[in-house]
């Protein structure tokens, strides 16, 4: 694994990279590298055995500079178009989790030709009537002085999942983990706090533009982005093979069940 900073338009972007093979761009979510952890989780390591995994930190996350001009998802999409140019990535596999999945879908509808294969894991981004995406900001406010149980419950199958407890402990966690969590919430507040809440109303009617083979993965018990969002992605993306449910997992399937999630993904990418 190596970390490095590249510069786009005068702003620093922090990137982790690992493995050899076809380029695979990974866009992170909340319980993830860059948004909690400094380095790879087991899921990323498994991917890196088969591909060149490239994971940039979103604007304002980890060591990527904050961009105060980010108001809407479109601003993040343009940020990533510049990252792709700087990395000279013209054709690549794209995997996004949660907010990262939203960004991935937005990139795919604009530049379907750049994406070889697309994987969305618990992706936000869609408006689905009657299935509001959860309020992660309120859950991130402490209960009973120091409990983050409801935050863990939103991001995982249960508040007691070992990875949930490691990444979002009660009280005060490891300082830099806490700062990264805060940075991810701060970026998210720019694009997902004010209505639209983590969605772009226009995205749904653009999904037909995606040409790449697509796999949608959802935790069987996602308490943050309801499963009907996964069903909607799977239905409206023309070349989507299936909505793969990881039984027992919550919103962070790749963290809760890295083996099965990585295997589904590798099988799909190798096909």
């Amino acid at each position: 694994m190596s970390g490095r900073a590249i510069e786009i338009n005068g702003r620093k972007v922090w990137i982790l990279e690992s493995g050899n093979g076809a380029p695979l761009l990974y866009l992170h979510g909340f319980a993830d590298v860059h948004s909690v952890k400094e380095s790879w989780l087991p899921f990323h390591e498994q991917l890196a055995q088969h591909a060149r995994v490239i994971a940039p930190a979103h604007p304002g996350c980890a060591q990527t500079d904050e961009n105060k001009d980010v108001d809407v998802i479109e601003d993040v999409v343009f940020h990533y178009l510049e990252v792709l140019d700087a990395l000279n990535l013209t054709q690549f596999d794209l995997i996004g989790s949660c907010v990262g999945g939203w960004i991935a879908a937005e990139l795919a509808v604009r530049h379907p030709e750049k994406i070889r294969k697309l994987v969305l894991i618990g992706a936000s981004g869609l408006f689905v009537q009657g299935a509001l995406i959860g309020d992660i900001f309120m859950m991130a406010q402490p209960e009973y002085g120091s409990s983050y149980a409801t935050l863990r419950e939103m991001l995982f199958c249960s508040a007691d999942h070992p990875m949930a407890l490691e990444m979002f402990p009660d009280g005060k966690g490891e300082l830099e983990d806490e700062v990264r969590r805060y940075q991810m919430l701060r970026l998210s507040s720019r694009i997902g706090f004010k209505p639209p809440y983590f969605y772009n109303h226009s995205l749904r009617n653009r999904l037909h533009r995606i040409t790449s083979p697509t796999l949608v993965i959802w935790g069987g018990k996602d308490n943050f982005v309801p499963r009907s969002h996964g069903e909607t992605y799977a239905k409206l993306i023309p070349n989507c093979s299936e909505l793969k449910i990881i039984p027992g997992a919550g919103h962070s399937a790749q963290v809760e069940n890295p083996e099965e999630t990585a295997k589904s993904m590798m099988d799909f990418l190798a096909k």
């Binding site: 009973y144 005060k172 701060r186 706090f193 004010k194």
Partner: protein, 414 residues
């Protein structure tokens, strides 16, 4: 030279909660179920509260203080300007301090500029214009994205003051509130413009922005241990850095008090209202119980580097004001000062001496405190506490700040 300014602050709490509210309900803020609102009981409540403020004016307080809150039982003033309008018609001497309108919650800051200008005219120049960014709960009330709250706030505040001082029409080419035609009718009465007060909780950036503009800094903390004195010193240092000088009327604090004939009687009379306030009104705001919305990573309005510094000194699960378990702990918090006129005078006097503060914003009505007790306490304060505080502070300020001009310095603007 003037003595300490004593203002009467009313929060207008919802006083009709059942005794088991704390046991049954998760929060007093944002999500507190509004089925608890009782129309039969609440009829006439606003009038009772307005009349208490009018009484403060009659008793010779230097002014009345209002503020803005939404969706809670702590303060029933989503629009303090409506209450202020009523006060312009029912009072004649005291300042009307609105602390403040929550600027990022307004679609267009010109609405605040206009309403404040109206209030300044309607009150014959008695308005003190407070601007506040709103805290955690308000972020959730109106879905204000936290990351740019502060920038939006200062753009709005500057636009409002510019609209009061510069001839229109002019175009405002702002990042958040671009407007083609800024042309205020009416203009405010006070020149160059009404005094501006800004609340803060010791953040260096807020102090700096306030200092740059020559405004009054109001410490929004409810507890007054060593922190109040430190805040004063920090603000004084920031002012020095900007070529300005501290004086007591650049600074204000919020405190609560209850005065009765004796210490014992004071405690007995106010205790129910005090506990109602601490356990119900502060639940969701300054209590660990339930979910505390005021500070936390879910309202990420300060930059990440500042958050890192904050975390270094942060103790998870620490006691907040509403977590005090007994009267002794409450006394130690220096938040609600209860006692005979002598006790209250001595304790507030010592606070003024240490914190060198010229604006005391005092809450008398606490929680579900009945009207007659709130009034009795206000009257005793006005007659038996205020004169000594005025006399003592005048002497102190004369010695410590000889020859200071205490008016708002217009030159410091921009």
């Amino acid at each position: 030279m003037k003595p300490v300014q004593l203002f009467c602050w009313h929060f207008m709490a919802y006083p009709y909660l059942a005794k088991d509210f704390d046991e049954k309900e998760y929060s007093g803020w944002v999500t507190v179920p509004n089925r608890l609102w009782d129309n039969a009981k609440a009829r006439g409540l606003y009038q009772e509260y307005i009349d208490q403020l009018v009484y403060a004016d009659e008793l010779g307080f230097d002014g009345m203080v209002l503020n803005e809150h939404h969706q809670n039982i702590y303060g029933l003033m989503p629009s303090p300007n409506l209450i202020a309008a009523a006060l312009t018609q029912n009072t004649s001497r005291g300042k009307i301090i609105i602390l403040g309108n929550l600027l990022p919650l307004h679609l267009n800051p010109m609405r605040v500029a206009e309403e404040y200008a109206m209030l300044d005219q309607m009150s014959h120049g008695r308005l003190v214009a407070g601007f506040a960014p709103g805290g955690g709960p308000e972020t959730f009330n109106y879905d204000v994205p936290s990351a740019n709250t502060r920038e939006k706030f200062w753009e709005a505040a500057d636009l409002i003051v510019r609209s009061w001082t510069e001839d229109g029409p002019f175009a405002h080419e702002g990042r958040y509130f671009p407007l083609r035609y800024v042309n205020l009718w009416p203009k405010p009465l006070q020149k160059p413009f009404p005094p501006v007060w800004i609340p803060g909780s010791r953040s260096p950036s807020t102090m700096t922005e306030v200092a740059k503009r020559g405004y009054c800094y109001f410490l929004s903390s409810r507890s007054h241990g060593g922190e109040t004195h430190r805040a004063q010193q920090e603000f004084a240092a920031v002012l020095e850095k900007h070529g300005d000088k501290y004086h007591p009327f650049r600074f204000g604090i919020l405190m609560s008090t209850y005065v009765a004939e004796t210490d014992q009687q004071a405690r007995e009379e106010c205790e129910e209202g005090v506990w109602y306030f601490l356990k119900n009104c502060l639940k969701g705001h300054l209590r660990r119980e339930g979910r505390q919305l005021t500070y936390g990573p879910g309202v990420p309005y300060i930059p990440a580097a500042a958050w890192r510094e904050y975390l270094k000194g942060y103790t998870p699960g620490r006691k907040l004001l509403g977590d005090v378990e007994n009267w002794e702990e409450l006394e130690a918090s220096q938040s609600i000062i209860v006692g005979s006129p002598e006790t209250v005078t001595r304790r507030i006097q010592s606070l003024i001496e240490k914190a060198k503060v010229g604006n005391l914003l005092i809450q008398f009505q606490l929680g579900n405190m009945p009207d007659h007790l709130a009034r009795k306490s206000m009257k005793l304060f006005a007659e038996k506490v205020a004169p000594a505080l005025r006399q003592g502070s005048l002497k102190q300020f004369n010695e410590e700040y000889p020859g200071m001009n205490f008016e708002q310095s217009a030159a410091a603007l921009h």
